[in-house]
Amino acid sequence: MKQLISLNVNGEVCDVAVEPNKTLLEVLRNELQMTGTKEGCGGLGQCGACTVIMDGKAVNSCLVLAMDARDKEILTIEGVATGGKLHPIQQAFLDHWAIQCGFCVPGIVLSAKALFDENPHPTEDEIKTAIAGNLCRCTGYAKQKEALLAVAGRQGKEGEK
């Protein structure tokens, strides 16, 4: 039976009626029409395209039941750019040609944002660990790593890896 729940998405409170078997991913895309978050692997938590930030941590929204997303602060890709201005991660992805088809990008941007929000100067290994759960079928990850290293460097000492 459907239940009315409140979700806090990108700072706004939304009320939706959901069955308990609906995941946060399905509610974001189907009820809230926020299609920036993607489904890439049939909802098995194996690709990271559905990554959102929940209470400061990157999670696979395909593995979060909507019922469990109540009382949590959720950030999706739609909430990353603010005041019409791209986030430094997004800008770096453009500057470094880190986008081909773009399908993985919302997930990677959010995984990276969760990292940078906690640690503005991550090492290369820390960056790799943060995005290890995000698959990209187009780019081979090199440009994305370059873009994220640039963001890490820009926020800290130049040339530091």
Binding site: P20, T23, G45, L63, G133
Partner: protein
């Protein structure tokens, strides 16, 4: 998920247990959900009742146990364990094992109890319903064949692929199980049987108890998988070594292998060989051969990885583990 279920959010363990009893066999506990939800989406399991135990306060903790070790609450996330300073200091092998699981996204919501209690995996059975329906049913689905082991006369239940289980076995950890008749604490090495874990239908794993380790013990967990993230381990190795560094002697050693066979196992022969010996590269090579001989008798093929391959990898991982322990001991 196509199938619907009734959903509960009990606020106490007792309430959760009474729901498990009331809906015997048709209910599933829902913690992190990173094992259960994919199984439900593939229709490998289809519970009619889902019991969300995350609303229980107080199952998420890492506490000292009166100077006798640590107590870890069942719902502590894998990420909390991987980053916990006290776990890294007192039982670093568990932090290493937790850090290797899946991806950061999964470790942020997956619980330690869920990783321990995860369903054993079969390369045939853990596929989507739509994929499986093209094959004649296996034993588990009421048929008369095991696709994972063609010669088998019954369901083989395949392999526990947990990373934290072998580390906890090496640490000598215990698990607390709470059910309708009360609670019991059993060594985690006895928790895993070939046909599944020993959790009864009315029980919940609420706590993991890790004893203090000997003062000069060093632990290393290594695993091999095709990719460095997202894959289940093909071979997992947990080694805890207690060194007498002055004399380079191995005082004591625990060697546990996992994902090779249905349940993790200890390689007593290699432990007996290494105990009391001065560790050099010849000794390590001989120990690796003993490990390979032991693993070869137990390893089973899983998907693309043959028993031979797993045996070879076991030999490589044990050498690396011992060398890493030696480095940590210095």
């Amino acid at each position: 998920m196509r199938k619907k279920f009734e959903y509960f959010e009990p606020e106490t363990i007792e309430e959760a247990i009474s729901l498990l009893v009331k809906y015997k066999g048709q209910a599933r506990l829902f913690a992190g959900g990173t094992d259960l939800l994919p199984l439900m989406k593939q229709e490998v399991v289809s519970p009619q009742y889902l019991i969300n135990i995350k609303k229980n306060p107080g199952l998420d903790y890492i506490n000292p146990d009166n100077g006798k070790g640590l107590k870890v609450g069942a719902l502590t996330t894998l990420h909390a364990i991987e980053t916990s300073p006290v776990i890294r200091e007192k039982c670093g092998i568990l932090a290493q094992a937790a850090s290797k699981v899946a991806s950061l996204q999964i470790r942020n919501i997956g619980s330690i109890a869920g990783n321990i209690c995860q369903g054993y995996r079969c390369w045939y059975y853990n596929q989507s319903h739509d994929w499986r329906k093209f094959w004649a049913p296996c034993y588990k689905r009421g048929g008369d064949i095991c696709y994972a082991d063609k010669g088998a006369k019954r369901c083989q239940n395949m392999v526990l692929r947990s990373d934290t289980a072998p580390a906890l076995i090496a640490l000598g950890a215990k698990v607390k199980l709470v059910g309708e008749d009360g609670e019991r604490v059993i060594p985690i090495k006895d928790f895993f049987e070939k046909t599944g874990n020993r959790l009864r239908g009315d029980e919940i794993l609420t706590e993991i108890q890790i004893p203090d380790q000997p003062p000069h013990a060093c632990g290393v967990y290594l695993r091999w998988s095709p990719r460095r993230a997202l894959d289940y381990p093909v071979v997992g190795t947990a080694v805890i070594m207690e060194m007498d560094t002055e004399n380079s002697l191995c005082r004591n050693i625990k060697i546990i292998f996992s994902s090779v066979a249905p349940v993790p196992f200890e390689v007593d022969e290699a432990e007996d060989f290494l105990r009391g010996k001065k560790i050099d590269s010849d000794i390590i090579d001989m120990a690796a051969q003993i490990v390979r001989d032991s693993v070869a008798t137990k390893a089973i093929k899983f998907g693309d990885h043959s028993a031979d391959y797993k045996t070879t990898m076991a030999g490589i991982l044990i050498k690396q583990s011992i060398e890493d322990c030696l480095k940590l001991a210095k």
